[in-house]
Symmetry: C2
């Protein structure tokens, strides 16, 4: 690799791809050249990078010639088909999809939590699921200080986690609902306007794919298979930022104040925890921001070492694009 990178973005016309382009620009990531890649359908779409128009090209197996660094976020099946080619051609791939996350050979990285594990990569570094990333950023400092035996989490996930088109569908459904017209649903299995619902698919055990991801990815990132995790993942009619109601059992008793102190100084975390002053993390405030916001820290006296936290982050930024770029930045800084 050179000191600046020839970058390709797989899924450049999607919500995460768009955000990757914005953040590369915002953070002045050393981009020598940028190649936005898309499906056949979206190829030709004109995007903007550093105030210049740039045309999305159709992704093929030849797209990776002369590329150093690939950010992939076009879905697991696209990654499964094309990423091995990119690796063969010598690219480093930071993959936002679930395709390789649980592979033993693929590090699953959240920079604040387990950047050390990235070193053993074989061409692919996986970016975790959005709801997992914000949870582990908030929990790692507590895990280090007191241990975590069990996590019970219920999520409040925004529609942008599904896709950019899902944002449009929520707007359309909302207008239809307010006007008393029939509500069309295409991307979501259920009405999302003024409703809360679940995403597909489900396993035979009754857990959704997202719920299984949260459990497995969290254990892999914390490198601790002993943590018990029960997740219930719920989609809510919010555009940007996921919220999570997290109940944990720690290894030793943590008072709320001690947990606040630990989190106030933690990397990537912004503590917002003054409920008496109406201050706690809210999706509308986290949207467009980089931090993982933590608040409503309360001792849960129903067990000896119980603690509640409310964690909110922008799912397109820290939950996807920002985390991927942070990984690339640290690898860049650690080049020898």
């Amino acid at each position: 690799m050179s000191t600046s990178y020839r970058v390709a973005i797989v899924g450049a016309t999607g919500a995460v791809g768009n955000t990757i382009m914005s953040i590369l620009e915002e953070r002045a990531f050393p981009v020598a050249s940028l190649k936005p890649l898309s499906s056949h359908r979206s190829a030709g779409e004109i995007l903007t990078f550093k105030d210049e128009p740039i045309v999305a090209e159709e992704l093929t197996h030849n797209s990776f010639d002369g590329i150093d660094l690939v950010f992939a976020s076009a879905g697991a099946s696209v990654s499964r088909e094309f990423i091995p080619t990119a690796v063969e051609k010598g690219c480093l791939v930071i993959d936002n999809t679930s395709a390789f996350r649980m592979d033993t050979d693929t590090p699953l990285i959240v920079p604040e939590v387990n950047m050390h594990a990235a070193i053993k990569h074989k061409g692919i570094i996986a970016n975790p699921n959005c709801s997992t990333i914000q949870m582990v950023v908030a929990l790692k400092p507590i895990y280090d200080a007191a241990g975590i035996n069990r996590i019970v989490v219920s999520t409040y996930q925004s529609v942008s986690g599904k896709s950019g088109a899902a944002i449009v569908e929520l707007i359309d459904q909302t207008v239809s609902a307010l006007e008393g017209r029939p509500i069309k649903q295409e991307l979501f299995p259920h009405q999302m306007a003024f409703n809360v619902a679940f995403d597909w698919p489900f396993s035979e055990s009754g857990d959704s794919e997202e719920e299984i991801k949260m459990a497995n990815e969290t254990r892999k990132i914390l490198a601790d298979d002993s943590i018990g995790i029960s997740a219930t993942t719920v989609r809510v009619p919010v555009f940007f930022a996921h919220a999570e109601s997290i109940n944990i059992e720690t290894g030793r008793k943590l008072k709320a104040d001690e947990a606040r102190e630990i989190l106030a100084g933690a990397p990537g975390v912004t503590l917002v925890d003054e409920p008496l002053n109406r201050e706690y993390p809210l999706p509308v405030n986290a949207a467009g921001e980089d931090a993982v916001y933590v608040g409503r820290i309360r001792e849960d006296t129903s067990i000896e070492n119980g603690l509640n936290l409310w964690v909110v982050a922008d799912n397109l930024r820290k939950g996807a694009a920002l985390n991927a770029i942070q990984i690339a930045e640290i690898l860049d800084r650690s080049r020898v």
Copy 2:
């Protein structure tokens, strides 16, 4: 009391009061006469009962003369001021507010759960908080079958639980958000359109009043102070019906199928639990219905006896008005 009742409704012009009037009519409750009572501000408002117009009268301490049965839902401070007068004048009061719920002398009743406790009333029977009612209807059959040691619940509560005006505020905020205009908030401490947030007030411990209610009321209704309960109550931009993600630790292991079997035959419960066929309880489906819908029953393997449930019910109906009227119906049927 006679075989039909002279009924007064305190808070008749509010969302719950309105629903009480509809349900009295729907269920042909034996109403000899109906007196809708309201604040000075809303007095004179014309309501409808059995297709006839009926005028709201201002609530005073003389409002209860010649009344047998009072349904009160105008807020705790109104109940604290006026309900003792109604009791003195010989009325039976079913109080929807939190004013007397935790008083030792006041039974706190959900008919499917603890109707036996109503017998010792001294003029007031308290109706629990909406989020408590649906939770205990779903959990009582499991409690009886296997015991419950601990409950961790996160809620997804609709805005109608706050007031009828809150519904209008959510509509206004939604239109403003879609049109890019500034969002006005009067009733809610935060933006509710396309956001999730918390309600006031909070205690010094950091728990909200609603969270404390859920814990204390559940223990009182189940008459079991040993149950550990941790609640996180969250408002979501939904008009009608509350949803709850409930994680419990039972006294003995319950397989998901066994829990389903228990709940399928339980009073007040409708089981909707076929996630592979996209069937689970949803707020938009529960709105306007009487049942407490239970689904997404999953064994939680993070502890020995863990179980997850997703519980949805119309907060204005089973969560308030319907529960109150069911109490009155059973008392009527049990007259000697």
